[in-house]
């Protein structure tokens, strides 16, 4: 359908547009809501901590592997925590649309992409806090990490970009589905299934060949390979993806993959949100 607009012939005064004030307000609002809903903070942490502290030691004992396997799984659980937390954050956007103040925000004189970015800031901060807690709890449980300065940056970059991308996926899904029930029914396919295929509990080379190839295309595989390189000084995940010699080159390529994922999903999330917001 084409839209025809009539010109009513008036000058158009401009509004000062400094987006940071409204963005801070939107993020603060989202944070207040999250703080007043503790389940949003705690529930996504339960499964990863269970994996890191209970299942990984149990696997180690049953399989008689070395203690590094615990660290391997503890790092892998970051790949479960990020999708679960961001999908939970997306769910709260949907709840906000159904029974919260979203329409008031849509009527506010702020660019609508800021509504998505305000939520992203809080989802990002909460996820960072949860990862820090997970690593802290794992260390307290005696799991050893081998962190070197530059490696840590690869981990931080990969985790940050993957969080941004997954939040974009959550916003996209929230904009597309009509109800919380439908949203929740799709979360396992998006947040959990890829985790089993992305080298979280075992290297992707242990999968059947076609699944190994499939896993190489998953952004989570790249984020986890960067995490293990950063936190355990273990580049084997990067080798399994790229089969190259230069670790730095492989890490850069994986970071690029996760970066493209983040940019594409964020753009999709903003576009779908703004389109769904206007009837």
């Amino acid at each position: 359908m084409t839209t025809r607009t009539l010109d009513l012939g008036r000058p158009l005064p401009s509004l000062p547009r400094n987006p940071f004030g409204p963005l801070a307000t939107l993020a603060r609002r989202r944070l207040h809501l999250a703080v007043r809903t503790p389940r949003e903070l705690l529930v996504p942490m339960l499964t990863p901590i269970l994996f890191a502290l209970v299942i990984a030691p149990a696997l180690k004992q049953a399989l008689h592997t070395s203690s590094s396997y615990e660290a391997y799984v503890a790092t892998g659980t970051i790949g479960l925590l990020i999708p679960l937390n961001t999908m939970f954050a997306g769910l709260s956007v949907l709840v906000e649309r159904e029974s919260g103040a979203q329409r008031e925000l849509l009527a506010a004189p702020v660019p609508r992409p800021l509504l998505v970015l305000g939520n992203l800031i809080v989802a990002f901060a909460v996820t960072a806090l949860q990862i820090a807690v997970l690593i802290g709890v794992a260390r307290a449980r005696g799991i050893h990490f081998d962190v070197a300065g530059p490696g840590l940056l690869w981990f931080l970059g990969g985790a940050a970009l993957f969080t941004v991308g997954m939040y974009g996926a959550a916003e996209s899904l929230a904009a597309r589905v009509p109800s919380a029930e439908e949203y929740i029914s799709r979360v396992p396919a998006i947040a959990i299934v890829p985790w089993f295929l992305a080298g979280s509990l075992f290297p992707i080379t242990a999968l059947p060949t076609f699944l190994t190839w499939f896993a190489r295309f998953l952004p989570l595989t790249h984020a986890l390979a960067l995490a293990r390189y950063g936190l355990l000084n273990d580049p084997s995940g990067l080798h399994n993806i790229w089969r190259m010699h230069s670790v730095t080159e492989m890490a850069a390529l994986s970071l690029l993959v996760v970066g493209v994922f983040a940019a594409a999903l964020t753009a999709a999330g903003i576009r779908l949100f703004t389109r769904s917001a206007v009837g």
């Binding site: 839209t3 919260g100 103040a101 329409r103 849509l106 004189p109 702020v110």
Partner: protein, 314 residues
């Protein structure tokens, strides 16, 4: 007179060729309370949606305080506020937080926002509630908070979308008092949608009656009623109301503005006397089940224009 809202040939057609709003045009003057009256599905909320930039017009144009809602949506939103039909609040946040967020998003200076929030909460009887989560508010308290929130930014244009729907009669009466008080105190232009005739009549300077996406009448409540004269005769027949109406038209008692809904025939009397009209009905051989005469209401105006019962449709 300044124009606060300009609507020109506005059209909204949804997918499947659902024509929600069909080529409507009207102006609302600054400081005026303007009502959009009509049943659910008449196009009122879609019109408000287009004016508040949450619904994209298919064609036509609209301006708020001179700002085009399609070309300058941020500016249009910056001069307006909305009180929505349903509760649009974050139940976990306090009332004060809601007012503060609105003030910040509408760029009210922090020093001024505090004063405005204090005054509004006092005026609207919210002062003791502000630090409680909104989830603990009653329906009436929540609605007052939403009105206070909309006023924090001192909008040039305030949209009240069915503001009293779902409230019990006492709270509704209180809220109507409140809105009437705002109308007297503020210079804000108010566009009110409602399907309650008493509400429209009490609050609005002018009314547009919408039906199936079109404006079928637009004038002051008094002028709309005046079209039907000073007295109405309501006649209930046992059967064949259409035939009875034809006979009354042939007799000259009923004019073109007489109408039948169900078995009730409504006849604007204009120059006819009540007793003469009753005698004329007896002469025409119609056996009425009941006859009453009364002053015309907006309900009669709506029925004449649409042939539907407003309250039933709503």
């Amino acid at each position: 007179m300044d124009t606060a809202i300009e609507v020109r040939q506005l059209v909204k057609t949804y997918a499947g060729d659902v024509r929600a709003v069909r080529d409507i045009s009207f102006d609302v003057h600054r400081g005026e309370v303007f009502g959009l009256l009509g049943p659910n599905g008449a196009g009122k909320s879609t019109t408000v949606g287009m004016l508040t930039t949450t619904v994209a017009p298919s064609s036509g144009a609209a301006r708020l305080a001179g700002f085009d809602v399609v070309r300058s949506p941020l500016e249009a939103r910056s001069v307006s506020s909305v009180v929505f039909q349903e509760a649009v609040v974050d139940r976990a946040l306090t009332g004060r937080r809601h007012l503060d967020i609105h003030a910040r998003l509408w760029r009210v200076a922090p020093s001024e926002a505090g004063d405005r929030i204090a005054k509004l909460s006092e005026t609207l009887g919210l002062a003791d509630l502000l630090d409680r989560p909104v989830g603990t508010y009653s329906g009436g308290e929540r609605r007052r908070l939403e009105i206070a929130r909309a006023l924090v930014s001192r909008p040039s244009v305030l949209f009240l979308d069915e503001p009293t729907v779902g409230l019990d009669p006492r709270v509704r009466a209180e809220l109507l008092d409140l809105i009437a008080g705002l109308r007297d105190r503020l210079e804000t232009t108010i566009l009110l949608t409602t399907h309650y005739l008493d509400e429209a009549e009490r609050l609005c300077d002018r009314l547009a009656i919408m039906h199936e996406g079109k404006i079928v009448a637009l004038d002051t409540p008094h002028a709309l009623r005046a079209d039907l004269g000073e007295r109405i005769l309501e006649l209930r027949v046992r059967d064949q109301p259409a035939a009875a109406l034809d006979r009354l038209r042939d007799s000259g008692l009923a004019g073109r503005d007489a109408f039948a809904v169900g078995t009730t025939i409504t006849i604007p009397l204009h120059d006819h006397d009540d007793t003469v009209a009753t005698a004329e009905i007896e002469r025409s051989g119609i056996a009425p089940a009941a006859i009453t005469t009364r002053e015309p209401t907006l309900d009669d105006v709506y029925l004449r224009l649409t042939g539907g019962q407003l309250r039933d449709a709503a």
